[in-house]
Amino acid sequence: MNEQHDPHGPDERGYFGPYGGRFMPEALIAALDELTTVYEKASVDPEFTGEFQRLLRDYAGRPSLLTEVPRFAEHAGGARVLLKREDLNHTGSHKINNVLGQALLTKRMGKKRVIAETGAGQHGVATATACALMGLDCVVYMGEVDTQRQALNVARMRLLGAEVIPVTSGSRTLKDAINEALRDWVTNVDSTHYLLGTAAGAHPFPVMVRNFHKVIGIEARQQVLDLTGRLPDAVAACVGGGSNAIGIFHGFLDDPGVRLVGLEPGGKGVDSGHHGATLTAGTPGMLHGARSYLLQDEDGQTIEAYSISAGLDYPGVGPEHSYLKDLGRAEYRSVTDAEAMAAMRLLSRTEGIIPAIESSHALAGALELGRELGPEGIVLVNLSGRGDKDMDTANSFFGLVEQGES
């Protein structure tokens, strides 16, 4: 947890190579400085780390399982496919790891109010959960488009006592939810912590969120060794902002033989212009506080992303991914809506596990990687979330329930 001794950075200004930093209003710099200081102290304070570990174990249900999926793997060229089951965490995704860490920090800072953005609602639900647990006021900003396609998660957040504010500006998705949360933060920064849900944004968010999720990769590496006696050939994870991917990748960064593969939302195809494949098709720029790859036009205006998956529908990406891409340490590919939905159905039917559409992008990538690696290959997939929230989308896509049947 102590990034001061972390060879993988970032530097003290929050840079991973040329990416990261703080492209933020001066009004928020004091809060970012305070957060950095409190986080750095907490990360070496046994009282904090002990409480965090206890919550991960007794509340979130860690360690999460590693599940081998042989019937699914028959479609992956016979390679072995192993799933890191973040979907089995409390609240149904990896998001709970980061949220518990930041909620504890919120209490340390003496703040009583938490704001968050959410796309699919997974981070919003996790944040509402941690706030309920710790007695914090919670406001979640969610694009209006997403409140409609993820209505179940809106209901969950409200049941947990959070206020959910639909955002009607811009593309009315995750990007605009972040804009609105930043506007709230700059107005209420004295009382409020912005509990950012991905490993993006201004320093210290990328390193802090990554470190709260590093447990995924640390557990998975040992579990794969225990099960197979060796390291995997490839690790696949979906990338929107990139928090689950950076969390699992970090367990393997120092294993040069392990390929790290991020799967971006290809939407209707990268060539169609309707996608969210930031690292595949973007260029470096600043959005939401950090320099990183970005979908932007030649004037530097953000291009709206598109994905069937609300959680990946974001035109930016965490700065560490940009650095790993440029270094060549990680590779990034895109998966279309149709490929992701096919993988979702395949895992459901072959293994009895219904994955989130976000995670289904990683599964589609694993099918491809398995076919490239052949029968000797081992692919580890971060199954970052469960698919219950996606039943409306799956129903429209597959026509699961006939009209008048329900």
Partner: protein
């Protein structure tokens, strides 16, 4: 006339400068030129030409809507130089206020070069802090532009000192914690912030966020070197050039210490 000369003049006259903001391309490309001209004619000592941006996180609903309208009407980044040129060639003074990504994308040095060529005097950078501004520090020096950074009530003494040191022309003090938008009451944090800034620098201090009428302008002019008005001008655009000029005239009286009675 440079910003330094402007503030020397207003200080000699014992008054604050009036600074008005309007996004380029709002309501249209041509319309923004005539509206900005009306602001200058009405009494703005300096205009801030805003660059419409897709993700204006420091702006409230009024300026967000104006930026969206300008972008939907086809605003292109290079249009801002034409707008600046139309002001400077008519004897007005203009700086650009912009989020940083469009400048970064254009090329920081090229942007500075083209702005200087259009007669622009500097750039106000709401989401660029001096810590991240090495390229801009070099380009602004190279092309003779002023660098107007922001300070906020939450800024520490150390950060105010650092920001003042990196700035030229004037310092922009955000008088409240929050986004842009006209407010009924001018923040009580403003005088305290200006006092803190003056302990670190002799640079003129402009105060913005929330001013909408002559009385508020007069209140701020009592302790600030410049009164900055944005959303109120943007709102007036719908009523036409004369209304914009009238608002400028009312505010211009305000910064001279005489609150206009509407």
């Amino acid at each position: 006339m440079s910003l330094a000369e402007l503030f020397t003049a207003t200080r000699e006259q014992g008054r604050a400068a009036l600074v008005g903001y309007l996004p380029a391309g709002y309501p249209t490309a041509a319309g923004s030129k005539s509206m900005l001209r009306a602001m200058v004619d009405g009494g703005c000592d300096l205009v801030e030409v805003g660059v419409p941006y897709s993700d204006p996180v420091m702006d409230g609903p009024t300026i967000q809507a104006a930026a969206t309208q300008a972008l939907e009407a086809g605003f292109r980044l290079r249009d801002v130089f034409e707008v600046v040129e139309s002001i400077s060639s008519a004897g007005g003074r203009a700086v650009v206020m912009t989020y940083w990504n469009p400048v970064n994308r254009y090329g920081v040095d090229a942007y500075a070069r083209d702005l200087a060529a259009a007669g622009g005097l500097g750039i106000i950078t709401p989401d660029l802090i001096p810590d991240e501004a090495d390229e801009w520090l070099a380009a602004s020096t190279e092309h003779g532009l002023d660098r107007i950074f922001l300070v906020a009530p939450s800024s520490t003494e150390e950060r105010i000192a650092r920001t003042a040191k990196a700035s030229s022309g004037f310092l922009y003090a955000t008088s409240v914690m929050g986004v842009t938008g006209a407010r009924d009451v001018v923040s009580s944090a403003a005088p305290e912030l200006v006092r803190r800034v003056r302990a670190h620098t002799d640079l003129p201090v402009g105060v913005g966020l929330g001013v909408r009428n002559g009385a508020q302008a007069a209140e701020l002019a009592a302790f600030a070197d410049a009164v900055i008005v944005g959303s109120a001008f943007v709102s007036k655009v719908a009523e036409g050039e004369q209304a914009v000029a009238d608002l400028a005239a009312e505010l211009a009286q305000g910064v001279r210490g005489a609150a206009a009675v509407a």
